[in-house]
């Protein structure tokens, strides 16, 4: 297992069967047979459309719903004036104390907290009729002054509830170092924008019993949240979410539109389908918060880090204290004796942000890795060498040994892949066909966790193995990886294995977030298979073969099936080791010296995330992360007109994500050394690290090409054109 897997390094090359199994649900997806939440033909279905607030802050004065109610096919128009109360919303607040913060309570009162907040739900017998009637709802508001601008209000930021301040060694030690970089960075707010819109179908089966088909990253969490909100027993809530067309963190919680549909279904006593429009996707299901950062970094003349100071202010809403940890990365990525940081938030009159792929660390890595690159030029040291000089052999934060770390291998593989030796240390010195050529690199890191998970494994009479657990698969290929683990453990071919997921009836599994699923559920699958095998061993006694014929054994023993339910969770190792996955991104870019257009020339991403279970889907993860990072670096930005508190680019024509023409050859390389200390399968997460650090690699390459450092993403041509005028 210690061999380095470079077999699928070229995305122009078709992966072959030697690269591991193909997606178990690939055929279902490409033929349209895979059903997503909005696609279930539930009997008696009616359709809901939300009406959003057009002011940013204030109160609802009145809502005229008469016209909408009388429009053809309309069954109900629900507003806070007539909505049944959601029992879970009625939290008692101590008099005199500030109101408890939490998600927006839909149709609960007259308060408007952000532009686009749902003020009415129209339900009709067809989607088109509901949409038309929604345009007839006339809400009047009493507007109040709002604030949606972070940059102008940084001084009003407050400490986050946890982990606000961090201190190791001397505060601001960097200031006394001979070589210093001190810079500010802005990362705009980014929107998840998965291809599949958020959607659900809600059906009340009895007064205290409900079924939902919902886009979610965690059926169990959705189940318990709905139960809490509507005060019904957990087992009376059924959540189905077999297929999810991407989420990136946007489906980790129950949002107001989900509660609205459930209220609606109660009112009309029919199952209600509600699909958000693309514009709603920008305001209703979170986003990566706009974040200001300041980094001070100091080094000795030889390039040893003396100190890092990292401050961040992230945007949140006025009603929720959402905070990422963008400064965390500065504590653990490099061996540095003195580190201090502060992480603050600023509540603006906007909808709440939420987790988005690589939360915190993707933001922090942009600042830290840009600063480190800048430092390397000041020191006139190769950026890789600078990183190796400050390589952390043990976790700088906890002092613990790492459960497994092969980052040096990753640097080497990536440098070879991109042709780092062709890079010139002098910025702006290489041209190719009239374009400037530059190389950049950056690292990423993300905590490797293992959550409790339970798997039910059943061997059926015909030799089919059925695995069941309540995990979601939002696209990374979870099912494929789980089948691969089971296939190897049981010694049976993949096509004899069925992996059932996405249903709250199945045993417990964590939400699909934080790159934990392969480690958590993968370990549970492995252990369940081992237990099942053991049970077979007991049946046949000692001396059984390594690849037993399970169907035959069942028949011999007159059994129709054999089943185990196995719990799995982390143990004492979590106290012994610091556990992380790492990535290194290498990029070469071409920059047009006249127009400031940046074109990616080549990308090489190396992941050090333990054993690679499913090479094909792992490779897709890495490519997807790189593409997302290119978007972060070059184009993604949700733009508010602060005068109105409204987005001006809430559609996919104006909010740019990369298209195929923006994407160069992307090589995915895996160090592929199992982490023997984290879990029995040796695999760690890689969804987040595929993105974390990528944007800095692009920005660093742009600097190497041009000598112009952009610290305010995205790097659009207008930001480089000032520089072009000088050349």
């Amino acid at each position: 297992m210690s061999t380095i897997n470079k077999s699928m390094t070229d995305n122009k090359k078709q992966p072959s069967s030697s690269d591991g199994p193909s997606r178990v649900d690939g055929r279902l997806k490409v033929t349209g047979a895979a059903k997503y939440s909005a696609e279930f033909a539930v009997k008696g279905l009616v359709y809901g459309v939300l009406v959003g607030s057009t002011i940013t802050k204030g109160k609802i004065k009145s809502i005229d719903i008469k016209k909408a109610e009388h429009a053809p096919g309309v069954l109900a128009v629900i507003t806070h004036f007539n909505s049944p109360k959601v029992p879970g919303y009625q939290v008692a607040t101590d008099p005199g104390k500030p109101a408890v913060k939490g998600p927006v309570k839909v149709f609960n009162d007259d308060q408007i907290l952000y532009n686009g907040q749902p003020v009415a739900l129209v339900i009709a017998d067809t989607f088109e009729r509901a949409l038309f009637a929604a345009s007839l709802v006339n809400a009047q508001y009493i507007a109040e002054k709002h604030i949606t601008n972070l940059k102008d209000n940084l001084g009003k930021a407050v400490a986050t509830h946890d982990d606000t301040e961090y201190k190791r060694g001397i505060v601001d030690a960097y200031k006394s170092a001979p070589i210093i970089v001190e810079q500010e960075y802005m990362l705009p707010s980014e929107v998840h924008n998965p291809m599949e819109l958020h959607a659900l179908i809600a059906r009340w089966d009895a007064a205290d019993k409900i079924t939902v088909w919902d886009k979610t990253q965690g059926v169990k969490d959705t189940q318990s949240n709905i139960a809490k909100l509507f005060h019904i027993p957990v087992e009376n809530v059924q959540v189905h979410s077999k297929f999810v067309g991407g989420a990136f963190g946007s489906a980790l919680q129950v949002w107001p539109h989900e509660v609205a549909a459930i209220i609606g279904a109660k009112v009309v006593k029919r199952p209600v389908k509600l699909v958000l429009g693309r514009a709603d996707m920008f305001t209703s299901v979170g986003y990566r918060p706009l974040t200001w950062q300041k980094i001070g970094i100091g080094a000795t003349a030889e390039g040893r880090l003396v100190g890092i100071t990292h401050h961040a202010v992230g945007q949140t809403s006025t009603y929720e204290d959402f905070a990422e940890g963008p400064t965390d990365i500065s504590r653990s990525l490099y061996a540095c004796p003195n580190v201090n940081s502060s992480n603050k938030i600023l509540g603006l009159d906007v909808g709440s942000p939420t987790w988005m792929r690589g939360p915190g660390d993707a933001t922090g890595a942009f600042a830290l890795e840009s600063a480190l690159d800048e430092l390397s030029y000041k020191l006139n040291i190769d950026p890789i060498e600078l990183r190796l000089k400050n390589y952390a052999e043990t976790d700088p934060e906890s002092g613990k040994p790492f459960s497994g770390k092969n980052l040096k291998d990753a640097y080497k593989l990536g440098a070879e892949g991109i042709g780092w030796k062709n890079r010139k240390q002098e910025a702006g010195s290489v041209t190719r066909d009239g374009w400037l050529l530059g190389y950049g690199m950056s690292g990423g890191v993300f905590g490797a966790d293992r959550e409790p998970a339970t798997v039910k494994a059943t061997m059926l009479a015909d030799g089919t193995l059925v695995l069941q657990t309540a995990v979601s698969d939002i696209g990374p290929g979870t099912g494929t990886a789980m089948v691969a683990i089971a296939s190897e453990t049981m010694g049976i071919p993949a096509h004899q294995i069925r992996f059932d997921l996405g249903d709250s009836l199945y045993p417990n599994a964590p939400q699909q977030g934080g790159s934990t699923i392969t480690s958590s559920v993968g370990s549970a699958v492995y252990m369940a298979c081992r237990d099942l095998k053991e049970k077979f061993q007991q049946l046949i006694g000692n001396g059984g073969e390594d690849k037993p014929n399970y169907a035959k054994i069942l028949k011999q023993h007159n059994l129709t099936q054999l089943q185990v339910v196995t719990d799995s969770k982390a143990g004492a190792e979590v106290d012994k080791y610091a556990m992380y996955s790492w990535s290194v991104h290498f990029v070469s870019v071409l920059v047009n010296p006249a127009t400031g257009v940046v074109k990616l020339n080549k990308v090489v991403c190396v992941a050090d995330s333990g054993r690679i279970i499913s090479p094909k889907t792992a490779r897709s993860q890495v490519i997807g992360g790189a593409v997302m990072g290119i978007g972060m670096a070059l184009m993604e930005e949700a733009i508010f007109d602060d005068r109105y508190g409204r987005l001006i680019n809430n559609n996919l024509a104006d909010y740019h994500v990369p298209v195929s023409a923006d994407i160069p050859q992307i090589e995915a390389i895996f160090v592929n050394k199992p982490d023997i200390n984290i879990n029995p399968i040796g695999a760690k997460g890689m969804g987040e690290i595929a993105l974390i650090g990528m944007a800095a690699a692009v920005a660093n390459a742009v600097y190497n090409a041009t000598g112009k450092r952009i610290r305010n993403l995205p790097i659009t041509p207008d930001k480089l054109v000032d520089w072009t005028a000088l050349t």
Binding site: T595, R646, I648, V659, V721
Partner: protein
């Protein structure tokens, strides 16, 4: 979206009859109109589908090429004569939208497409183009994409088309049909500047329709280039685009055609710069001088000042490509 009637026109005459009634609009590919209807920017009572009229032809004429108003953007961009004799048009078309959109979009619809200004699209915001008298959201707002030429306080929106920049450079003529028969106007006079009436994009009367464009033969085919600078490599509107056509003989420019997109309420033809280039030797220096001339009268707003640098740089680059300097 408001309910509306749909009529499929069988003849040009029945189309003209239909659009003479208020609240009636032509629909061709629908790629712009349907979006505007969904957003509530426009709310016609009746749509007249003209896609069955015989206006799809691309035919050589005595002195050039005729292109019917219903010829698809994709068809025109790949037409053999267009590619060979008017490559500038083919390049401009291919720089626009996406293959899927170009497969639906028509020449007439492309000319009539409305601005992509965010304030025009959002019916909760002020916009003199959408609702005269409400003000201009972009003036004091986020105007990175907006005009630097020919603006007025009432409107600083740009015309978003790439094809039209090519046609403006190629001296095309628009053929228009109305109740009183046909009329022909130069392409550069089809679209208008905002002036006091930013709600009016062009000089087509409400009861008229476009039936085609004529492009005269020229000597620019060998030295043509369309350069579009945008925020991503495809499927984005121009920050600045330049259509350049040169007639070069022995290293000397005999004639030049230049037009810009993304800078004005209409495709922006650079007549003065063209004049300057006539008789000049092919050189980066003369291209830079031409670009400076082209920029006279440009005026920037809070977020689009970069266009004052990007536009001349793009003109120079486009001319370098057209002349073979790069």
């Amino acid at each position: 979206m408001k309910q509306f009637q749909y009529l499929r026109a069988a003849t040009q005459q029945s189309t003209l009859d239909a659009i003479s009634k208020p609240g009636t609009k032509i629909i061709a590919g629908g790629t712009n109109l349907i979006d505007l209807m969904k957003r509530g920017v426009t709310a016609p009572d009746k749509l007249v589908d003209i896609t069955h009229l015989p206006l799809k032809n691309i035919t050589p004429t005595k002195s050039g090429l005729h292109i019917g108003a219903l010829a698809l953007n994709s068809t025109v961009s790949e037409n053999g004569i267009v590619v060979q004799k008017f490559p500038l048009l083919s390049m401009a078309l291919k720089a626009g939208a996406s293959p899927q959109l170009r497969n639906m979009a028509t020449v007439g619809g492309n000319m009539m497409q409305r601005t992509r200004c965010s304030y025009f699209y959002d019916t909760t915001m002020p916009c003199n183009k959408r609702e005269p008298g409400t003000g201009c959201g972009a003036m004091g707002g986020l105007n990175r994409m907006h005009a630097i030429f020919g603006t007025r306080d009432k409107c600083i929106a740009v015309h978003p088309s790439d094809m039209c920049v090519g046609l403006a450079a190629l001296d095309a003529t628009v053929i228009i049909a109305g109740k009183k028969g046909e009329r022909r106007i130069p392409f550069t006079e089809f679209h208008r500047l905002p002036g006091e009436h930013p709600d009016v994009d062009n000089t087509l009367a409400k009861d008229e329709m476009i039936i085609g464009v004529d492009i005269p033969d020229n000597n620019f085919a060998k030295n043509s280039y369309y350069l579009k600078v945008r925020d991503r490599q495809s499927y984005a509107f121009a920050l600045v685009s330049v259509a350049a056509g040169l007639d070069i003989s022995n290293g000397t420019i005999r004639q030049a055609r230049l037009a810009m997109g993304g800078v004005a309420h209409k495709p922006w033809r650079l007549f003065e710069a063209e004049k300057f280039l006539v008789g000049k030797a092919v050189s980066e220096d003369s291209f830079k001088q031409a670009a400076q001339i082209a920029m006279q009268g440009a005026k920037a707003y809070e977020y689009n000042a970069f266009k004052l640098k990007l536009a001349p740089a793009t003109i120079t680059e486009a001319l370098k490509h057209a002349s073979g300097l790069v």
